[in-house]
Subunit: 210 residues, 2 copies
DNA sequence: GTCTATAGCTGGATAGAC
DNA sequence: GTCTATCCAGCTATAGAC
C-alpha cells in the first residue's frame, strides 16, 4: 500500500500499474493480484489507509484549534507539508481516476469523507459561540474546504507561485469572516435577512433539526 | 482535438491514448503523431483550444455581471453546464496528468490562466466601488476561485450530493461577503486593522502599484 | 507468500503504400 | 493526409515452481 501511495504521488494515476507499484515496493508484480485482486482494489485500499493515517495525524493538531484563523493556519501548514509527503495529491489523483473508473469512486469518496468529518467537527467547535453558526451550513462548508483544498494542490502542481497567491488571498478572506463574527446583533439580523432574500438559507442543518 | 477532449472527459487521463482518441475522432491512430508529434502534445493543444473556446463562450455572459452574487450565479450555471459538456473536468484531468508529466504542465497552466484572467477582470469590475477592492488581493482571489472550481468538479464526480451542498454553502459565503461590502467606513477600518494584525495584508496588488 | 514464466492485450511510435 | 502494417515495450492476469 505504501508503494501504491508513493507511485500515485510521484507518477500519477496515468502511470500507476501493478508493475510500477511493485517496483516501488521492491516486490514482484504478481503479489498485487494475490493480495488485492486487482490494481484498482489496491489503490482503493491504499487510499483509505493513507487518508486514515493522515487524518489521525492531524486530529491532535486540529483539536487545539479554537478559531477560524487558527484553522486557516493549520490549513497553511498542511499545504506546506504537502510539498514533502503529498497525501492530498494522492487523493486528487484518485479523484481524477474515479471520474471515469467507477470502481475507484467509493474509495475516493470515503477518503474525502474522513477529512470532511474532521473539518466539520473543528468548524462546529470553532463557530460554537459565533453568530455565524446559526446561519452557515457547516457540513456544506466542510465539504467546500476539502474540495477546494484538492483544487489548490492540483493548481500548485502546475503553478506554485499562483497557488501561493491564491492561498494567501483565502487567508485574507478568513480574516474577513472573523470580522463579521465580531459584529453586533444588528448586523447579524441584516445578514440573515440578506441570506433569506438570496434564497440561499439552507433547509437542513443544525438549526433546522426538529 | 475534439476527440481528445471527449476522450479526456469520458475516459480520464489514465485511459487516454493515441488509439482511444483516434477511435473517438473516427480516424487512424497514426494521425495523432503525424499532426501533433505525440499524445501529450495533442492533449496540450486540445486543452488550450478547448479553454479558449469555453472562456470566449462565457466572456459575454460574464461581461453582464455587476455584483458578487451575480458572479456566483454564473458560477452555479457553469457548474450545471458541466454535467452536460464537462470542460472543467477536462482541465482537472490535465492537471492530474501534469503533476507527474511535466510536458503537460504548461498547457494546464495556460488553460487555467485564461479562466483566471477572465475571472480577475470580472472581479475587479464588480469590486470597483467596494471598500473591499482596496483590501483584497483580486488576482489571488481569481486564482482561488478557479482552483476551487476544479476541486468542486472532481468532488462532484464521486459525491454529487455532497458537492451540491458544498456549492450552496459557498453561495451563502458570497452573500456574507456582500454584507460586509455594505458596511460603513468604521467596520472597514476595523477590517483593515484586523488584516494587518494577522499579517495577511498583501505586499503586491492593485493598491501597491506605483 | 513470493517468485518465474507466460498468454493475450494495448500502448507509442515509425515505415511505407496510396 | 490518411491509411495499413509492424516493432517492441508495457500492461493485466493467471499457472505453477519453490
Amino acid at each position: 500500500m505504501d508503494g501504491a501511495l508513493e507511485t500515485l504521488r510521484t507518477r500519477g494515476i496515468a502511470s500507476v500499474s501493478a508493475r510500477t507499484i511493485a517496483a516501488a515496493a521492491g516486490v514482484n508484480q504478481a503479489l498485487v493480484f494475490y493480495h488485492f485482486g486487482s490494481v484498482d482494489e489496491l489503490l482503493s485500499a491504499a487510499c483509505t489507509h493513507g487518508a486514515r493515517q493522515r487524518v489521525a495525524a492531524y486530529a491532535e493538531r486540529l483539536a487545539t484549534v479554537s478559531s477560524l484563523s487558527e484553522l486557516l493556519q493549520v490549513g497553511l501548514e498542511l499545504h506546506e507539508q504537502e510539498r514533502a509527503d503529498g497525501n492530498v495529491i494522492v487523493l486528487a489523483q484518485l479523484l481524477a481516476g474515479a471520474q471515469s473508473e467507477p470502481k475507484l469512486a467509493p474509495a475516493a469518496a470515503d477518503a474525502l469523507a474522513l477529512w470532511i468529518a474532521e473539518i466539520e467537527t473543528v468548524l462546529r467547535r470553532v463557530l460554537a459561540d459565533s453568530p455565524l453558526a446559526a446561519v452557515l451550513d457547516v457540513p456544506g462548508l466542510a465539504r467546500s474546504i476539502c474540495a477546494a483544498f484538492i483544487g489548490f494542490e492540483l493548481y500548485d502542481g502546475v503553478d506554485g507561485d499562483g497557488a501561493a497567491r491564491a492561498v494567501s488571498a483565502i487567508a485574507q478572506l478568513g480574516s474577513l469572516i472573523e470580522l463579521v463574527e465580531d459584529l453586533g446583533p444588528a448586523a447579524r439580523r441584516l445578514l440573515r435577512a440578506k441570506l433569506r432574500r438570496s434564497g440561499f438559507e439552507r433547509g437542513d442543518g443544525p438549526s433546522g433539526r426538529p
